[in-house]
Amino acid sequence: MTAVHDAASVYMVENVLLIAIRDNITDTDIIGLQEELSERIVVEGARGIVIDIAALEIVDTFVGRILAQLSAIGHLLGAETYTVGMQPAVAMTLVELGMDFSGSRTALSLSHALRALKAKGLA
């Protein structure tokens, strides 16, 4: 519905908040995104969140931490978060960095995430 940032596109579709993060996102942007999303989850009554990181070639510990935080925040606000589109090299690097995202869910793609959310009655 609305894309607000340069750094990410945010859409609301059937109770699910979809966020596609762009590659050139800065630290400030991503923290701003976290704040904005927290608001929107409540305002829109979203039960599901899908964060698409297919465009991110590099995910370091900072970005990784924010992504994990987004899941935790979503959970507290009653929504389930799926991270999708992680590139293989990014996955391997994150494992080596010791980040395992154990709190968040991941799915192969947007359609996989939506299917999972629908199955749980959240979309």
Binding site: T26, I58, T61, F62, A89, M92, T93, E96, L97
Partner: protein
């Protein structure tokens, strides 16, 4: 892209958070020019991202230089900051340690992602980190 045998192919001033992306781009370009494989490039640039962020957030800014070996098979970066320095380097390299909220995991992780990792730091003397990876 030319690189003198000892001169850097790129030099990035590290002042604000936008320079993190600039540093990543500079190293990515250098490694693409060397024909580096995706995985090796992603690992090295991620490590660069870690140390550069540290330099900017905790090191009061500094400079990153990028060097390509004469045979174009090795990439090396040198990151110097003029910050307060790290008191206990060994502890800083362990995962989870942090003097400020986000120093945890960064340096130790970066070290695992590259072939060679050298760090020199002392309280009041800033920090200098050199990382090298072979393609």
């Amino acid at each position: 892209m030319t690189s003198g045998p000892d001169g850097p192919v790129a030099r990035v001033e590290l002042r604000g958070e936008r320079d993190i992306a600039a540093a990543r781009l500079a190293v990515t370009r250098a490694m693409n020019g060397m024909g580096a494989r995706t995985l090796i490039r992603v690992r090295f640039v991620t490590a660069v991202s870690e140390i550069v962020r540290n330099a900017i957030m905790h090191g009061k800014g500094g400079e990153l230089t990028v060097h390509v070996s004469a045979d174009a098979r090795e990439i090396r970066v040198c990151c110097i900051d003029s910050g307060p320095g790290i008191e206990d380097i060994d502890r800083a390299l362990q995962d989870g340690f942090s003097t400020a909220r986000s120093l945890g995991k960064g340096l130790g992780g970066a070290r695992r992602l590259v072939d060679r990792f050298d760090i020199a730091s002392a309280p009041g003397a800033g920090t200098r980190i050199e990382m090298t990876s072979r393609l």
